[in-house]
Amino acid sequence: MAEIQEKGGGGKKKGPKKNSTKIDMTPMVDLAFLLLTFFMLTTTFSKPNVMQISMPVPPETEEEQPPLKASNALTVILGPNNKVFYYDGLVREGEALPELITTDYSDKGIRKHLRERNTNPKLFVMIKPLKEARYKNMVDILDEMSITNTGAYALIKDFTPDEKKFIKEKTGIDVVAAGTGAAAPAAAAPTEAPAQ
């Protein structure tokens, strides 16, 4: 295959044979490009980005936490259908109820309010996903925190009974916090075809 091709036929010519020293490189080049294509297509260059999350370590003992001042508090509730509710201050019995505002994850929505509140360095944002919220909403709101440089925030599971009542009154949504109650049947009957 790879030998140098000699001129066939009955050599009537005398003298030294003039063999061509050229090799047909076409198959080799074909192979080289085939490999090149293969490796180019299979290689993974970009590694995915990650967000680093540090959850507050749950206190070992039931020690008294310093109470959060209402003026420093902002509660963000992740609701269904990509809606987000927020209110300034706290819901406490015997106090005036704050205003509950419904907005979305766009830059004119929750981000605008976060920027306004962000002037207070002691601001603490409580993020409370409802059961209906999507994971995208959680990432979006955590992303908003880094976009607006809000340092103090926490993902919180629990709603106080007062808070539940307050949200139910204002929005008509039955408050079930994400990750509480009975476990959703995790793909007990997956309707889709198996992945791949």
């Binding site: 080289a32 993974t44 919220a133 990432v139 955590l142 992303d143 880094s146 793909a187 992945a195």
Partner: protein, 200 residues
Amino acid sequence: MPKVKPHRTKPSLDMTPMVDLAFLLVTFFMLTTKFSPEEVVVVDTPTSISEVKQPESDLITISVDKSKRVFIAIDGQNAKRTALEAMRVKYAQPKYSPEQIKDFVLMTSFGMPMNRLGQFLAESSESRKATQQPGIPLDSLDNQLGDWILNARLANPNVKAAIKGDNDADASTMQRIIQALQDKKVNRFYLVTDMENKPI
């Protein structure tokens, strides 16, 4: 008028520089390539402005697809082997054969409850691909995900956790996973996201 002589020689092109370049690229790709692992689960991750890259190794990746199935992938073959053995003892499963263990170590991510894992590993790789994996249970009664996290951490203390969730996965499953991580004293973890441009 002079006669126009037709060219006798074949039109030929010196391909040497092109071939040189081709081989250079082949070498480059051969050396840098890292085959993308076969994914058993399709996850469309949300976007974020974070620029932190995912660490190369020592990672437990917990994937959640849009039908809320939970899969786990553990880096490091030795860690995987140790974790599997510990899980087998904990869930009182019959001993796995060396082939089953080898298959397990070579798998990327899996979503099988312990009582079906042995049988799943005994299958051929084609039938494994066709099997619909139900996901790892993580409710409070049967928290196998937590045990996997614990055993993976015991097998490799440097391991870090990453959650790779689908856009349409629900917040409940995520909160449960975060809770499972926190129960095992993992309070720092990563959320895998795609890149997004930073707004001004």
